[in-house]
Amino acid sequence: MVTSTRGERAFRAVNAVVLTAVVFVTLYPFVTIVARSLSDESYLIAGKVNLVPRGFDLTAYKLVMSDAMFWTNYRNTVVYTVVATFIAIVLTTCYAYVLSKPRLRGRGALVGVAVFTMFFSGGLIPNYVLITSLGMKNTIWAVVLPNAINVFNLLVMKAFFESLPVELEEAAAVDGLSTYGTLLRIVLPLSKAVIATMVLFYAVTYWNSWFTAFLYMDRQELFPVTVYLRNLIAGATGAQDAGGVADADAVQAAATLQAVTIVLTTLPILAVYPFIQRYFVSGVMLGAVKG
C-alpha cells in the first residue's frame, strides 16, 4: 500500500464531494418521477411530493398497463431499437474498419462523404419525399435505415481500429486468415469495449427517438412508445384545445399517468447500462504485442 500524499487525499475528498453532487443531480429527477408515479393525485396537486411517494397508489400503473396501444407501441420500440441497433452496428463497424486502413485508396474521399453529412443535410421535405418514393413509409425500414451510420460514432470507431497494433493483423494474415476472417476473429473480439459503447449509444438514441417514426408513420399502431408518451403529455397540457376536454377523473389522473408512462418507458434502457458497463474496462490491449 502506497501512502498517499496530502494532495492526493484532498483530491479524493473533492472528487467524492463533486461526484456525489453529480449523482444527486442526476438521480433527483428520476426519483421524483418514480415518487410521483406511485403517489395519490391529490398530493401532487398540493405540491407535496418530492422524493417519497405520498398516499401510495397503483391505479395509474394499472390504467397505463391496461391500454393495449401502450403495449403495441412498446413492442414497436423494442423491435425498432433491436433491429436498428443491429443494422447500425454492422454498417458502422464495416465502414469504420475499412476507413482505418491507411493503404485504402480513396480513403480521404470516403471519410469526406461521411463527414459531409454531418454538416449538410437535404432537409425535412426532401428526406420525406425520398423515403416515401423508396416505398419505406409505414414500414420499419423508415425508422431503422436512415441514419444507420452516425458519423460521430463512425469516427470514434475508426480511431479505435487505427489504434489496434498492425502486427496483430499481420500475424493473422501470416496464419492464413482472409480480410473478413481477421475482422471477425481477431479485430472484433479485441473491440468489445468500443462495440459495447456503440451499442449503448445507438440503442439509447433509437429508444428515445420519436421524430423519424412520427414523420414516416401514418398509423398509430406503428408508433414507438415515445410518440405515445409525447402525445399523452401534450394532450394533458393542451390548455387551448377545447376538444381536449376530458372527464374530471381522467384529467385528475393525468399527472400520475405521465409519471407512470415515463417510468415504464425509461426503466428498460436504464437496465441495459449495468450489463454493458462491464465492457468498459481499460487495458484490453495490454500485452497483446510482445517483442
Binding site: 396537486i45 398509430q220 394532450g235 390548455a239 385528475q252
Partner: protein, 541 residues
C-alpha cells in the same frame, strides 16, 4: 420553357373555344370545368338533403389523434358514416402533439390527404402561395349547407377575414351561430361572502375586491394567474385587452382597427394598450397581482390557489371543473370557486370571442379526382348540415342518445361524456368515436354548441351572449411579398411589445417612458407595418 408556354397558350385557346361553345349556359367564373369530376356525386344535392354517394367512395383525411380518445377502426362513427353516406374515410393518424408540423410536412412534400381538417386561421396562409391547397371559395356552389349558414348567421364580415389578396379564401370555415367566449377569471366566492363583497362586474370592481382580499389576508397575492407559457400573461392580456378593445396577449394582432378613424393603427402603441398596462401595473404595485403570474407554470398557479395562497385565477369551463375545483376539494373542502363573466372594461359590454372555429383545407390534388364533386358534397353534409353536425357530435339516435318531442337530446343510460352519466360503462368519444374533435368541430347553432354544457356553463354563456359581438376588422390581405416583409417585421416588433409590456407591468420600466417605447416601436417599423395594412385595406375595398 418555350414549349411549355406554347402548350399553355394552346390549352388556353382550346379552353376559350370550349367556353365560347357553352358560354350561354354556364357561368365562366368556375376555375375549372367539373363535369369529369362528378363520379359518385348526387345529381341533386341541396340544402337539408341527406348525402349518399351513388357508389362506394373513399377519401383520405388527416386525423388529429387525441390521446384521451385515440383512434379506433371499429368505432361506430366509421361504420355508421359509411352506412349513411357510402363514403369510407381513410384517416392519416397524426399525434395531436405535433399535428401542425406533420401537416406542413405533408403539404410541402405533396403527400397531403385530400381533406385537411382542424386548421385554425391563419395557418392556411403559409400554403396559399405554393398552390397546394384549393381556393375553396370558388366551389361554394357545391356546398349548399355552408352557404346557407353563412347567409343565415350573417357571417360575411368574419368570412372576409379569411380572404387572401386574390379575394379568395382557402379555408372552409368552422362557424358558430353565436360567439362562445370561454376564458375568464375564477374567484373564490366563499372569500367574497366572508368579506361581504359582490361578484365583480368590471375590472375596476375587481381591483376593489382584490384590495379587500389583500387587506384581510396581507400575506397573500389575491390574484395569481396561469397560462403564461409560452406567452407571458397570454390569457390575462388577451381577456383584459379585449375589454379595452384590443387583440393582445396570446391573441395579439399587430394591426388594430380604429373604427372611428376608419384605419389601422399599431396595437402595442395605442392609448388603450397603455391604459391596460397601467391597470396591471397598479395591481402589481399594490401587491394584488402576483408578479410570478407572468412567468410561472400552470401547475404552480394551480397549487397557489389550491393551498389558499391566492383567490383568483384565470379559468375556462374545463379548468374550473376538471382542475381547480377538484384541487380545492382535496385541500380546502369549504372553498367555493365560481367562474365570473368576463369583467367589463372601457370597451363596454362586449363578447370578444370569434364566431369562426377551426376549418378545413382541401388539397389541390383532390381537384383531379373524378370524385371531387362527391367529396365536396360529403364535406358539406358532414361538417355543415344540421344532421351531419348532430351525427358527428351526438352519434346515432336510439343508440348513443335519445331525443324528446321538444328536441332535447339525452345520452342513453350507458353512455358517458364529460361525466354527464358517471355510472355509464361506455364513453361517447372513446368507445364510439363521436365528438372526436376532427369531424365534429365545435361549431353549429347555439343549441348544438351548448348541448353538452352544464347549467352553470349555459348561464355563463347566456350572460356573455347578451353582450355585443366584437367589431370585426375589415379584411386587409397582404400579397405574398407584403406578407414576407410583414412577417420579418412582426417577430421583432412582437418581441419588443411582449418584453416591454412585462417591464411596464412589473414596474421595471416607468410608464413615463411610454413615448420612448413608442419611438422604439417605430424604429422597428411599426409605422411602416401600419402603412402596409392600410394600403392593403384600401386596395381591397
Amino acid at each position: 420553357m418555350r414549349i411549355r408556354t406554347r402548350r399553355g397558350v394552346a390549352a388556353a385557346a382550346a379552353g376559350l373555344l370550349t367556353l365560347g361553345l357553352v358560354a350561354c349556359s354556364e357561368e365562366p367564373t368556375k376555375a375549372e370545368d367539373l363535369s369529369g369530376s362528378r363520379v359518385g356525386a348526387m345529381a341533386e344535392y341541396g340544402l337539408g338533403d341527406q348525402f349518399k354517394a351513388t357508389e362506394p367512395l373513399s377519401f383520405t383525411a388527416l386525423y388529429n389523434n387525441h390521446p384521451f380518445y385515440p383512434l379506433k377502426n371499429d368505432w361506430m362513427f366509421w361504420s355508421e358514416l359509411t352506412k349513411r353516406t357510402n363514403v369510407k374515410i381513410e384517416p392519416v393518424a397524426v399525434p395531436l402533439s405535433d399535428y401542425e408540423q406533420k401537416r406542413s410536412l405533408l403539404i410541402g412534400a405533396g403527400d397531403a390527404p385530400m381533406i385537411i381538417p382542424k386548421t385554425y386561421h391563419p395557418a392556411e396562409d403559409a400554403f396559399v402561395a405554393s398552390g397546394a391547397i384549393l381556393p375553396v371559395s370558388d366551389y361554394l356552389d357545391l356546398l349548399p349547407n355552408l352557404k346557407d349558414k353563412i347567409a343565415k348567421w350573417h357571417l360575411e364580415p368574419e368570412i372576409n377575414e379569411l380572404r387572401q389578396s386574390d379575394g379568395k379564401y382557402y379555408l372552409l370555415p368552422g362557424m358558430l351561430e353565436k360567439p362562445t367566449h370561454d376564458y375568464s377569471l375564477a374567484v373564490r366566492a366563499d372569500i367574497l361572502e366572508e368579506l361581504n363583497l359582490q361578484i365583480p362586474k368590471t375590472w375596476d370592481e375587481l381591483h376593489t375586491v382584490l384590495k379587500a382580499m389583500k387587506a384581510r389576508y396581507p400575506s397573500s397575492y389575491p390574484f395569481s394567474d396561469r397560462w403564461s407559457k409560452p406567452n407571458p400573461g397570454g390569457s390575462l392580456l388577451s381577456i383584459l385587452g379585449a375589454s379595452y378593445g384590443l387583440k393582445a396577449g396570446w391573441s395579439y394582432q399587430h394591426a388594430h382597427w380604429d373604427p372611428a378613424a376608419r384605419k389601422f393603427d399599431y396595437t402595442g402603441a395605442t392609448d388603450q394598450y397603455k391604459q391596460m398596462l397601467q391597470y396591471l401595473n397598479k395591481l402589481v404595485a399594490e401587491g394584488l397581482l402576483d408578479p410570478e403570474s407572468f412567468t410561472q407554470t400552470d401547475d404552480a398557479a394551480r397549487q397557489k390557489l389550491a393551498n389558499g395562497k391566492s383567490f383568483v385565477i384565470g379559468a375556462n369551463a374545463q379548468t374550473l371543473v376538471n382542475e381547480n375545483r377538484p384541487d380545492l376539494k382535496s385541500t380546502l373542502p369549504k372553498a367555493r370557486l365560481v367562474r365570473i363573466p368576463l369583467p367589463v372594461g372601457p370597451a363596454g359590454e362586449i363578447n370578444p370571442a370569434s364566431r369562426l372555429e377551426n376549418g378545413i383545407m382541401i388539397s389541390t390534388k383532390a381537384l383531379q379526382s373524378k370524385n371531387f364533386v362527391a367529396m365536396m358534397q360529403f364535406i358539406d353534409w358532414l361538417w355543415y348540415s344540421d344532421a351531419g353536425q348532430e351525427f358527428a357530435k351526438w352519434g346515432v339516435e336510439g343508440t348513443t342518445y335519445t331525443k324528446d318531442a321538444a328536441g332535447k337530446r339525452t345520452l342513453t343510460a350507458d353512455v358517458d361524456i364529460f361525466g354527464l352519466n358517471p355510472k355509464a360503462t361506455k364513453h361517447l368519444q372513446k368507445d364510439f368515436g363521436f365528438y372526436n374533435g376532427v369531424f365534429a368541430a365545435y361549431g353549429g347553432n347555439v343549441d348544438l354548441v351548448q348541448s353538452f354544457s352544464s347549467p352553470e356553463e349555459k348561464e355563463f354563456q347566456k350572460v356573455m351572449s347578451a353582450r355585443q359581438p366584437v367589431v370585426v376588422a375589415p379584411p386587409h390581405p397582404f400579397t405574398d411579398e407584403e406578407r414576407e416583409q410583414a412577417t420579418l417585421w412582426e417577430s421583432s416588433l412582437k418581441d419588443h411589445v411582449v418584453q416591454n409590456s412585462l417591464r411596464f407591468i412589473l414596474g421595471q420600466r416607468p410608464l413615463t417612458e411610454w413615448d420612448a417605447y413608442v419611438a422604439e416601436l417605430k424604429a422597428k417599423n411599426s409605422d411602416k407595418y401600419v402603412e402596409l395594412a392600410n394600403k392593403a385595406y384600401e386596395r381591397f375595398q
